[in-house]
Structure formats: C-alpha cells, structure tokens
C-alpha cells in the first residue's frame, strides 16, 4: 500500500493538475454567471462541448499541414485552436443567453423557470450534436465519438521523481493559468469589469449608475463561454477525442469546483478546480479509479460542512478593484 502510494503520488499529481486546470477554466463560466444572475447555467457543459468541436473541425481541416513537433507552427496551431474555440463557445453562450434566458428574465419568470430552460437547452444541444452534427462531421451514422489528429508531441520535458512531465501537460497548465490571469485582470481593472462587479453587488443600484444590465449579462456569458472554449481546445489537444456528452460529467465536476472554491469567486474557481483534480487522482491511488467521483463529492460535502461558502468564500463583487 505504502509502496503503491510512493510510486503513484507524483504521476497522479501531474495528472491531477492537468485535469484540474481544465475543470477550473470551465468552472469560471459557472461562477461568473452565478455571480451576476444568481443562475446556475446548466447548459454551460454544452458550451464546453461546442468548444471541443470547434477545435476538432479546425484541426481536421488543417490536418495534413498539422505539425507533430515543437515549434512556431505548433504554437500557432494551438493559439488558433484556442481563439477559434473561444469564439465558437463565447458566441454560443451569448446566443444561448439571448434565446433561453433573456426572454424569461424580461417577463420576470422565476429562477426555477430559468433553471428548467437551462436543462432544456442542455439536452437540446447534446441531441443536436449526437443526431445531426457529429454524424455529419464524422460521416458515420450513430452516436459516435470523433477523434482529432495529434499536433502537440508527447515529448517528456523533465522528471519530478518518477513522474514524467510532458510538453502537453505544461501547455495545459500554463495556458489555463495565463487565461485566468487575463480574465481576473479584465474583471478587476477594466470598465466593463467594473460593470460586472457592480451588477453582481446590486443590480438595481448598478442600473441607476448607468450600467446596462443587458450588456453586462451578455458580456458575462461571452467571457464565461470563451473560457469554456479555451478549456475545450486544451481538452481536445490533451485527450484528442470528443463526443456529444463530453461536457456532462466534466460540467458537473467543474460546477463542483466552482462551489468548492466559493461560487461567484474567480480565484476560488481556479483553486477549486485544481484541488478537485488533485483529490480525485490521489484518492484513486488507494481506492481505485472507479471511486474518483465519490471521493470528489465526499470532499465537497465535508468542505461545505465547515465552510458553507466554499474555500475562498462567495461573491464576485468582493474581488478587489
């Protein structure tokens, strides 16, 4: 048992950091929308799914030219994937908000109605991809998965103990952290970020101060969606295949990460994602990988018992100006 632990702890840590970074990026979308609207956007997992497919289509289109070695072309392809996925997911999130949430908000529907609308949108998007878009992309009928060509080589960069750290691991972690810093700065330093924080604090006062709620909500969905898109691009680079329900489990994990870190709190999402990824992989050493989900949720319940607002506490509004 101890030997198992010693052999697996470092490789598991690397794996946990990688998947945790992806959880964190997806968690940002949940957290931002919750902070501004007090709404859990259950269709956010499908926004992530759309991000994976945007990268897939791009990679498939440029496959013959896709480089498999480290270099300018690889970095260019990676950046292109991230941008294309961010645009696709951000755009889909804005569209989702316009079609599924805004009409309800305008008519003063309850939060519960918006939640049902979110679940409906989630199922609609999943089935749309399962029945129409994926068969069309892969040219095969049925609920198939789609595979992407490799463009980031699995070169081992260095070892930490017995854990090999590969180029793709480093890319996921660094990209996730950079994108999150950019988002954090946007929310805390820019005018639009101030609008987001103001709306999260007190929507009515924000309107009185000249903030357009509709614009702020749209921007919030756009930014959250774009983060999910970046996560989708990194996921596809790492796992190299995707399917219509790829967002389902990952979305639940990301939502858990958001709650774990403190929902509505951007830095909390980062922390929650990383902690969740690590705990899952560490727990699997002792109990087996089939217990990952149980371990993750047990930890969530325990944390919430002692800190009901999550590790870093709630609220977007208190993010410093």
């Amino acid at each position: 048992m101890l030997q198992d632990f010693l052999n697996q702890i470092l490789p598991s840590t690397v794996g946990g950091l990688v998947i945790g970074s992806i959880y964190a990026l997806v968690a940002l979308g949940y957290t931002m929308v919750y902070g501004v609207l007090r709404l859990i956007n259950f269709a956010h997992s499908e926004i992530f799914m759309i991000g994976t497919f945007a990268s897939l289509v791009l990679l498939t289109a440029i496959a013959p030219a896709a480089p498999a070695t480290f270099g300018i072309a690889m970095i260019g392809t990676l950046l292109l994937c991230m941008v294309v996925s961010a645009i696709a997911s951000g755009g889909a999130a804005v569209l989702l908000e316009t079609v599924a949430y805004r009409p309800l908000r305008k008519r003063g529907a309850t939060k519960l109605a918006a939640l049902i609308s979110a679940i409906g949108a989630s199922i609609f998007l999943q089935e749309l991809f399962a029945l129409e878009i994926i068969p069309w992309l892969t040219d095969k009928p049925g609920r198939n998965q789609a595979s992407a060509p490799r463009f980031v080589p699995r070169d081992e960069l260095f070892h930490i103990g017995n854990a090999a750290v590969r180029l793709d691991h480093v890319i996921v972690i660094i990209a996730a952290v950079l994108v999150m810093i950019a988002l954090d700065q946007t929310v805390s330093k820019t005018r639009i970020g101030r609008g987001i924080r103001a709306t999260a604090q007190d929507p009515e006062a924000a309107v009185l101060m000249g903030v357009s709620i509709d614009n702020i909500v749209r921007v919030t969905f756009l930014l959250g969606g774009a983060m999910a898109g970046v996560a989708g691009a990194l996921y596809l680079m790492e796992i190299e295949n995707t399917v219509f329900n790829v967002g389902f489990v990952l979305g639940i994990k990301a939502f858990t990460a958001a709650v774990l870190g403190g929902i509505g709190n951007l830095r909390g999402a980062l922390l929650g994602g990383i902690v969740l990824g690590l705990i899952e992989n560490w727990g699997a050493i002792f109990l087996g990988s089939q217990w990952k989900d149980v371990i993750a949720f047990t930890v969530l319940v325990i944390v919430l018992m002692f800190r009901p607002t999550g590790i870093l506490g709630e609220s977007l509004q208190r993010a410093r100006a």
Partner: protein, 391 residues
C-alpha cells in the same frame, strides 16, 4: 455481444417500432415454384435498428448459403423468410407467432440477440421448430432445457478464459493488469479474465473507471507503477481507444488485449494507428480478413461478390447455421421434428468452425478467435489454440 449494445435497442421509440414492425417480414411472398417443393426457413434479428450492423452480416451469410443451395436446382428448394425484430423481445414474440402460424417455417436462423432468444425459446419449443443462432452469446440460454434451441457460437463464459489462456501461452506473463469500465459486460469479462489468470498462478492487479470518464491519468499511473507483462481490458472500443492512447503516451509498452466489444475498426481510429498497433482482440466470431487461405478464402471471395462488402462480424456463423439446415433438407427432412432429429447428429466442417451440437444446443467447438491490429487493420490470427502473435 450483450449489455449496453442490447440495452440501447430498448430505448427506441414505441411509435417507430410499430411502424417498422408493420413492414417486417415482408420478404415472405409466394412459395410455390414449379414442380419442386419449397420449405421455409426463417431469419430473425435486428435488420433495421440500432444494432443492425452486427445482424446484417449473418443475414447475408445465411442468404448466400441458401442461394448457393438453390442454384444447384435441388428437389426441395429453401426460401429464406426474414423477420426484422429490431432486436426487441416483444417484437420477436409477435413475429414468431406469424412465422409459425402463417408462414409455417420449419426452422429458424436466429434470433440474433440473447434477449429475443430468451423471449421466444418457449414458443419454438412448443411448436417444435428448431433454431440455430449465429450470434446470441448469453451463457444462460443453454440452461433452459430447450430441446430445439442451438447456436454455432461460443458463449460469453468461454471468452474471458479464452483470452487469458491465450495470453499465458503467448507471453508467459508473471503479472497481468486487468482493467474495465463499469458496464455490465465490461465488468463480467474483466472478472472472468482475472479469475483465469489467478487460477493459473499469474499475479493480477486491477482498476476500473466510469464509462463516461475520459481522463485516465490515475489508471495510467497505476499500470505504470505495477509494470505488468500483459494488460487486458474488458469493455467497448470507444473507451479502449482513449485508454490505449493514454497508456502508450504514458510510456506503458505491455501488450493490451480485449474482447468482442472492442473488435471494431473504430478502435483504431479512436486510439490512432500508432497506439492501436499490436493490440490483441478476441471474439467467439470468426471474421476472415483478406489474407486468409483455404475454405475461408473461398467464403471471403464469394461473400464479397454476393453481399458487395467484406465479411463482417458473425457472417461465417450465419452461413454455417444456414448450412446445417440445408444439410437437413438435402437429407429429405422437411418438418421441424425431422430436421431436429437430423441436427442431433449433424457433423460437418463449417466455415467458422466444425459444426456439431451438444445435447443442450451448445456447439461442440467453443473456439475463441484471435485478432491483432497490424498496420492499422484488424487481422485474423486464427482460433486461440493455434493463433501466434506477430511481434
């Protein structure tokens, strides 16, 4: 082929099944043809539903065998009547009533799946209609005490031990790592493999993951830490594709083997050709690849001509099931009871394996066939007793 694939069939909307059911069995038509008499043999299985991809090949095999026989202008011709059950037990029950009452079939090839086989076994028994399934692999089917039921394929209980014994012979492993996801078929196969390894003195370590998981980093680090000689995966190709890729990227080089659920070309596209190369798949089915010789080669060429496709899963078994009935009719047996008496003693060299039945309807030869991914395609290496791994 059981578990999730069959389960998914049940999800189809009831409305659709009614509409399609109305079209089913349309292959009947008039049976008289000049002076020669004609007997009807049924074929039942999922011909248009979600899993039809594994039923159409045995249907094509059976059709080909009967066409070859009729072309010889025999005294008694055979007509193949198709019953599209969509793999659903409830459809099968109503179709078999029609088959027995209206069409008066004297034998049935199928049903293709285990669920529908279970549903209509008693009706076949009552009406004394012998059946031979090319593809139903649930072990429980042979334990119903049915006299008229047969199959020409080894059951699921033969597969796990077959894989483990083959790997022991081929690689003499000291340590095996047995993996699976959490689906019924996957866990069952993995447990059977692990038990056989343990019984033969091979150390076994195991891990499992959720069906919808996609990041297997904890599993990879477990396998890497255990450093096994062989790895066996119980489950379907979608998950194995991802797993293979992550194992190989993680620096695990041990041979990886799996069962019939993973025997699909999509395994190679999912894992990528480099990661899939060398993977070993086992199946109770005998699917000839283009490089076979002898009888199988003749079958391969004829099938390609008649079905306009390469032989696929259970096509040889469908051909053999039909051949057993053809031999009965050739011998002048044209009623269910007489054909049944003939099947008790039938003994011939089929395309897939020697065809001879035990008293409970199981095939005497329960060979498992071994395939290996070579150069991006699945290659048949032969029955597990004779197959030799390449590289």
């Amino acid at each position: 082929m059981s578990g999730a694939r069959l389960g998914r069939v049940l999800v189809l909307a009831a409305a659709a099944s009614l509409v399609l059911g109305a079209c089913a069995g349309g292959g009947g038509g008039s049976s008289s043809g000049g002076d020669a008499t004609t007997v009807k043999i049924g074929f039942m299985g999922d011909l248009t539903g979600e899993n039809s991809a594994i039923v159409i090949p045995p249907r094509n095999g059976a059709k080909m065998a009967i066409a070859e026989y009729n072309a010889k202008n025999p005294k008694t011709k055979i007509e193949l009547v198709e019953y599209d059950s969509q793999g659903k037990p409830d459809q099968a029950t109503s179709l078999i009533t029609k088959a027995v009452g209206t069409d008066k079939i004297v034998g049935l090839i199928g049903p293709a799946f285990s669920g529908e086989s279970k549903a209509i076994g008693a009706q076949l028994e009552e009406n004394k209609i012998p059946s031979i399934s090319p593809s139903a692999t649930n072990p429980g089917l042979a334990k119903n005490g049915w006299k008229y039921w047969h199959r020409v394929v080894a059951n699921d209980n033969d597969q796990g031990p077959g894989i483990a014994e083959f790997l022991i012979k081929a690689k003499s492993p000291k340590k095996a790592f047995v993996l699976s996801d959490d689906q019924e078929y996957s866990v069952g196969l993995a447990e059977a493999v692990a038990k056989t390894f343990k019984d033969k003195g091979v150390a076994v370590e195991t891990d499992k993951f959720a069906k919808d998981a996609s990041d297997y980093s904890s599993t990879v680090s477990k396998v890497k830490s255990a450093n096994p000689d062989v790895i066996v995966y119980g489950g379907y190709y979608a998950q194995l594709g991802r797993l293979l890729k992550q194992l190989r990227d993680g620096g695990v080089t041990a041979i990886v083997a799996s069962g019939d659920g993973s025997l699909d070309a999509q395994l190679i596209s999912g894992a990528g050709q480099a990661a899939a190369e060398g993977a070993v798949l086992a199946c109770p089915c005998n699917i000839p690849s283009a490089d076979v010789t002898g009888n199988l080669k003749t079958f391969f060429d004829n099938y390609k001509k008649s079905a306009n496709a390469d032989p696929a899963i259970y096509s040889t078994e469908g051909y053999d099931a039909a051949t057993a009935f053809i031999k009965a009719v050739e011998g002048g047996n044209t009623t269910g009871e007489k054909i049944m008496d003939f099947l008790k003693t039938v003994n011939f060299e089929g395309v897939s394996k020697p065809i001879k039945f035990k008293d409970n309807g199981e095939p005497e030869a329960n060979s498992i066939f071994i395939y290996q991914v070579k150069g991006g395609v699945l290659k048949l290496l032969g029955p597990s007793a004779e197959a030799k791994l390449e590289g």
